[in-house]
């Protein structure tokens, strides 16, 4: 029954679509990344310029600043989402009154489009209109203006991302927790392990594949975040993440070559980060049992 040709035949539609819509555009961006292509320049065609785009990129303070901001955003948002998601998933494994209702309400943000999430949060935090600046000013005498204070804009973006994506992490963690067999946990308890030891030596190793997949997906999403942050702060200070910087270079400035080179380096950083995380979490380090 196991015929490799049948396997390849069944896989071929997916492979063709992947090649056409995934790999071919990547090759095109790779090609454009080594060219100068600005429709408003004197020569509006593609002009090969070797490594000039990358030479410009490594000295571009705006780009380097955007990478730092994106890293801060990703670390704080994903860290909070994983911790919160795990706590909520643990809570949802137990029975309590109103559990079904809580699960529905908790999952609602996942169904909202990112651009609508940005719009909702903009309405919440817009100075002179939104309830958040109003109550912060009234109760704590705190001036809250995301257009004026970069740190406030960054933290608001982090909180918005946590609000939007924690349900996703909760659902994946819940699936992972439900798949853990009861016997090892019960054995550990019989052997006298406390709650932390059960979590560290039994639950966490079983959750490792789920955790890895979830963090991968969230890292890739966080690094390419554009729409909701753009809607929230319009690319203002504190929210000029890499995705927004690429958008600014490619669309208003129409500097396609330079924009492609930034996209390639962002992809490179994402892949390296995910790979390092894979090595750290997957148990392939020497001395660890797979």
């Amino acid at each position: 029954m196991r015929n490799p040709r049948t396997g390849w035949l069944l896989l071929s539609p997916t492979l063709i679509i992947l090649l056409l819509f995934g790999f071919a555009p990547f090759l095109y961006v790779l090609f454009v990344g080594f060219n100068q292509w600005n429709v408003f320049s004197a020569d509006d065609g593609l002009v090969f310029n070797g490594l000039d785009n990358f030479r410009r990129l490594v000295f571009d303070d705006d780009f380097l600043h955007s990478v730092g901001l994106t890293a801060r955003f990703a670390i704080f948002a994903i860290g909070s989402e994983v911790v919160l998601g795990f706590v909520l998933a643990q809570m949802l494994t137990r029975n309590f009154p109103g559990k079904s209702l809580f699960r529905i309400i908790h999952t609602l943000p996942l169904m909202v489009a990112p651009i609508a999430v940005g719009a909702i949060w903009r309405l919440l935090v817009i100075p002179g209109f939104g309830p958040v600046p109003f109550f912060l000013d009234r109760w704590f005498d705190l001036k809250y203006q995301i257009g004026s204070y970069p740190d406030q804009a960054l933290w608001t973006s982090v909180i918005m991302d946590v609000w939007h994506w924690t349900p996703f992490v909760t659902l994946t963690m819940l699936a992972g927790l439900s798949a853990i067999p009861k016997e090892p946990v019960e054995q550990a308890r019989v052997d006298g392990a406390n709650r932390f030891q059960v979590f560290w030596y039994v639950t966490l190793p079983f959750l490792r594949p789920v955790l890895l997949t979830t963090v991968f997906i969230r890292i890739m999403d966080a690094i390419r975040t554009v729409d909701e942050v753009w809607m929230l702060a319009g690319g203002g200070p504190g929210t000029r993440f890499t995705g927004i910087y690429i958008w600014r270079v490619v669309f208003p400035r129409t500097d396609y070559g330079y924009g492609s080179s930034i996209s390639l380096i962002t992809l490179y950083l994402t892949i390296v980060l995910c790979w390092l995380l894979f090595i750290a979490i997957s148990g392939r380090r020497k001395g660890e049992v797979e």
């Binding site: 490594l51 990358f54 030479r55 490594v58 380096i265 892949i271 790979w275 392939r284 020497k286 797979e290």
Partner: protein, 69 residues
């Protein structure tokens, strides 16, 4: 250099890298190092030495990683 076969039939070696690697891993690490060295060279070393030196260095490191990593 120890060689072992995983449950999926892939050959992994125990080289100088801090984890077990198969051939794809080592080529991937070589490419990552190549790009990284070139970017760092453009930023810090290019006024002193041309970019071709970075290519030579990263190819040598890549070869060592692929053979012994």
């Amino acid at each position: 250099m120890q060689e072992q076969e995983t449950s999926k039939g892939k050959k992994e070696i125990n080289g100088f890298l801090p984890f077990y690697t198969n051939a794809f891993d080592r080529v991937f690490i070589g490419v990552v190092i190549l790009i990284g060295i070139h970017l760092l060279w453009l930023r810090f070393m290019e006024p002193a030495l041309p970019i071709e030196a970075a290519t030579v260095i990263s190819l040598v490191i890549g070869y060592i990683v692929v053979r012994r990593g």
